[in-house]
């Protein structure tokens, strides 16, 4: 795409978003209402899955802003989630105060994200991917080197008070996770609409042009990384709440890769895409496993599910290159493709 064509599409997008303008706050309030109603109707396991979607949504939303709007690819967000999760676990062990603990987890991860972001702002494309990948694989190494604090592979358990009153645990978990998720989405939605969002897109599309237009390129990139790291930290803390335990094995490189897959399949750069991605992260593996179970002999073990998962990824990417969130406009996509 030439710059002119890019500009043209950007203008088009802007017009489109003006057409179906909606207020993020209203969307989030509706979402909250839907979630609360759901928690009273769903059985416990579905509630747990719903809570997991919420926890994933925090990180996918932040990552899609970083990657989709600012063009920085991170394969290390799993490690940032681990940072948040371990912070909360260590805090809970001492103080057992959930809300301040979650805030602290976000703060610590934000700082970690700032350090990585400073390095990341100098790197492009695969070099950034390579560096963040090295960050992702360093988690087990850190937990075993400092095993007095992190307890190596076995990890830490997270002390939690039981939910207030007679609320079932799973329902309580949904409320916590989705409160975090909806706040994240609200924050990002307003952030993306403002000047910062414009700067991020400008940097993604053409760094030189952005610089000429007075956008601080490095500052925007670091800031984008910091924001997405904060979201990852929140997500990690929520996962610690969900699992009541943290261990390095729960934040492997594959998690970071799956996060990237989720936002791309969902629709890069869109919060709706992040929601779809978070949903798929929970739904797809279990659907794959149950399909494989129905079809499978014992000797295929988990392999049929794995294959099914892979086929879905490839087919979706070929059928909807803009991600599932873009599926509403199939004709437009075909046209754009013809142009290339």
């Amino acid at each position: 795409m030439t710059i002119v064509e890019r500009l043209a599409t950007t203008t088009k997008n802007r017009q489109k978003s003006r057409q179906n303008r909606f207020v993020p706050l209203a969307g989030v309030l509706v979402g909250a209402a839907v979630i609360v109603v759901l928690t009273y109707t769903l059985p416990p396991f579905r509630n747990y899955q719903l809570a997991t979607i919420g926890a994933y949504l925090c990180v996918t939303a932040g990552l899609t802003v970083l990657t989709g709007l600012n063009g920085q690819l991170s394969l290390g967000h799993g490690a940032l989630m681990a940072t948040g999760a371990y912070t909360l676990a260590l805090w809970q062990d001492r103080f057992n105060l959930l809300l301040p603990g979650i805030v602290l987890a976000v703060v610590v991860t934000t700082l970690a994200g700032g350090v990585i972001g400073l390095a990341a702002a100098r790197l492009r494309g695969p070099y950034l991917a390579g560096l963040t990948l090295a960050v992702a694989v360093v988690v087990p190494s850190i937990t075993s080197t400092f095993d007095n604090t992190f307890n190596s592979d076995q990890g830490l358990s997270v002390a939690l008070n039981p939910p207030p009153g007679v609320i079932p645990v799973e329902q309580w978990q949904v409320w916590i996770c989705w409160a975090g998720a909806l706040l994240t989405v609200l924050f990002l939605a307003y952030l993306v609409r403002g000047r910062f969002g414009r700067d991020m897109r400008a940097v993604r599309d053409d760094e030189t042009a952005a610089k000429l237009a007075g956008v601080g390129v490095a500052r925007t990139q670091v800031l984008a990384f910091v924001v997405s790291a904060a979201c990852a930290g929140l997500s990690g803390a929520l996962f610690a709440v969900l699992a009541q335990s943290v261990s390095p094995g729960a934040f492997p490189l594959t998690l970071s890769l799956f996060l990237v897959m989720a936002i791309v399949i969902g629709g890069l750069g869109r919060l709706t895409g992040a929601l779809i991605g978070a949903f798929l992260l929970v739904a797809l593996p279990s659907v794959a496993q149950s399909i494989a179970e129905d079809a499978g002999s014992q000797h295929l073990e988990g392999n049929l599910a794995l294959t099914f998962f892979g086929v879905v990824l490839v087919v979706v990417m070929l059928a909807a290159p803009g991600g599932l969130a873009s599926m509403k406009f199939p004709r437009k996509i075909r046209k754009q493709k013809g142009q290339e």
């Binding site: 969307g27 979402g31 759901l38 059985p43 592979d153 076995q154 699992a243 949903f279 392999n303």
Partner: protein
């Protein structure tokens, strides 16, 4: 956004409505989760795919095959056992998901033989909160033995410290005055084992660790060679046992290897080493169940029959023996719990102990002790085949002495199904 949320909500609802009955526990078997007049539903989490699947993915199918055998022989009090195996790929985050699915959605009666220390550690609290019996966890961690904290959790394997003490006792008696080195996995497995070894031997000449993410033990084995160790104790998984033995041969270093049970299945090792399998000659390991190659054992005869009939004649190795022994012990526990099956009765039955089965040493379940097998006997590999030598030893994970065990192993019942008690 709004529309997507609605669609997702509808999907979740649709998915949820299919099984929305409430859970309860205790009381009588009529309202015990996973138990009906004709069926007992039991679940497990296992690494079926991914790097950790190697060696371990054959355990759960073997357990299932034994249950099928029991079912074909009338089941337990007329109930058939359904064993639901979930793949967690040895990823603790997946374990969270699949165990919750088993407990909350499938409403299993109990979790049996969940595999792995880091994976299973993460679900202990959840299982405790939901009062789900958590039987015979597949790892030698001491974590499972905390009756006060986790009353429903029971181990199966002898723990790594017990094993370390027994291996070290053998080394102390046979290689007195020789230099001993230790290579362990960089987690509780290696640490607990080293603690046991050093308790008996004192400080070893050189100790090294490996991480599973770096399949090169050249530096570690090189250090042992430089330290001129005569004996190398390995607390490693099978792949790294093979790698260590292969690496030693590569650099012309020939110590006596003494290997932990979890990393010593001769079939798996020989398969991994291929043409280099003769290197295994003379390796000392330990076990507590009949050996897969011991055709004279009535247990092996029984298991082979079950393997042929219900397990698609899978490669018959120590993992299959392990899986079927887990199944046997579970059926024993079910028989002990009686006809009116509840979760509490099952836990009580396990805690009552007194099981005799394929093991060379007793399982020591009691109200105070939830660890599994009490000890091990040493094996030596000769001609590609492991055989027991000496006597079995038992000990504990604390300062207790390593004592020879003189009891004799039980023979399996004629029909291969533990009798009702």
């Amino acid at each position: 956004m709004k529309r997507t949320a609605t669609v997702l909500a509808a999907l979740l609802l649709a998915a949820g409505c299919s099984n929305g009955n409430s859970n309860s526990s205790g009381g009588s078997s009529s309202n015990t989760p996973g138990v009906t007049d004709t069926e007992i539903l039991v679940g497990t989490h296992q690494p079926l795919t991914g790097p950790a699947a190697a060696g371990y993915s054959s355990i759960a199918p073997a357990t299932k095959a034994y249950f099928d055998y029991v079912n074909a022989n009338g089941g337990v009090y007329g109930r058939k056992i359904t064993y639901k195996i979930m793949d967690d790929g040895y990823n603790p985050a997946n374990t969270q998901q699949v165990v919750r699915q088993l407990v909350l959605q499938d409403k299993v009666f109990a979790i049996l033989n969940g595999l792995g220390t880091p994976t299973h550690t993460g679900v202990l609290d959840f299982l405790k909160t939901n009062r789900v019996p958590d039987l015979f966890v597949a790892s030698g961690s001491r974590t499972w033995n905390q009756p006060d904290k986790y009353p429903g959790t029971f181990g199966f394997n002898p723990d790594y410290t017990v094993e370390g003490k027994i291996l070290a006792t053998y080394v102390k008696e046979t290689y007195a005055g020789k230099k001993v080195c230790f290579l362990g996995q960089d987690d509780d497995f290696g640490k607990d084992s080293l603690a046991g070894v050093e308790q008996v031997l004192g400080s070893v000449t050189a100790k090294q660790t490996y991480v599973v993410t770096n399949p090169n033990v050249g530096p570690q084995i090189g250090a042992f060679k430089a330290a001129a160790c005569d004996v190398v104790v390995l607390a490693s998984i099978p792949g790294f046992t093979a790698l260590s033995i292969g690496t030693a041969a590569k650099i012309g270093y020939k110590p006596q290897f003494v290997v932990s049970n979890v990393g010593s299945d001769p079939t798996t090792l020989a398969k991994t080493l291929g043409a280099a399998a003769p290197l295994l000659e003379g390796v000392v390991a330990a076990n507590y169940l009949p050996l897969a190659t011991d055709d004279s054992s009535p247990w092996i005869q029984l298991y082979k029959k079950v393997n042929a009939q219900y397990n698609g004649n899978a490669t018959f190795d120590n993992n299959v023996v392990y899986g079927m022994s887990v199944g046997y012990l579970f059926v024993q526990a079910l028989q002990g719990a009686g006809k009116d099956l509840t979760r509490d009765k099952l836990t009580e039955a396990v805690q009552k102990g007194g099981f005799t089965g394929p093991g060379l040493v007793p399982v020591r379940f009691s109200a105070q002790d939830h660890s599994g097998y009490a000890g091990e006997q040493l094996t030596k590999l000769t001609g590609g085949k492991a055989t027991y030598f000496g006597t079995p030893y038992t000990t504990d994970d604390a300062a207790g002495a390593v004592a020879p065990y003189s009891g004799t192993a039980a023979a399996p019942p004629a029909n291969g199904v533990p009798p009702a008690q």
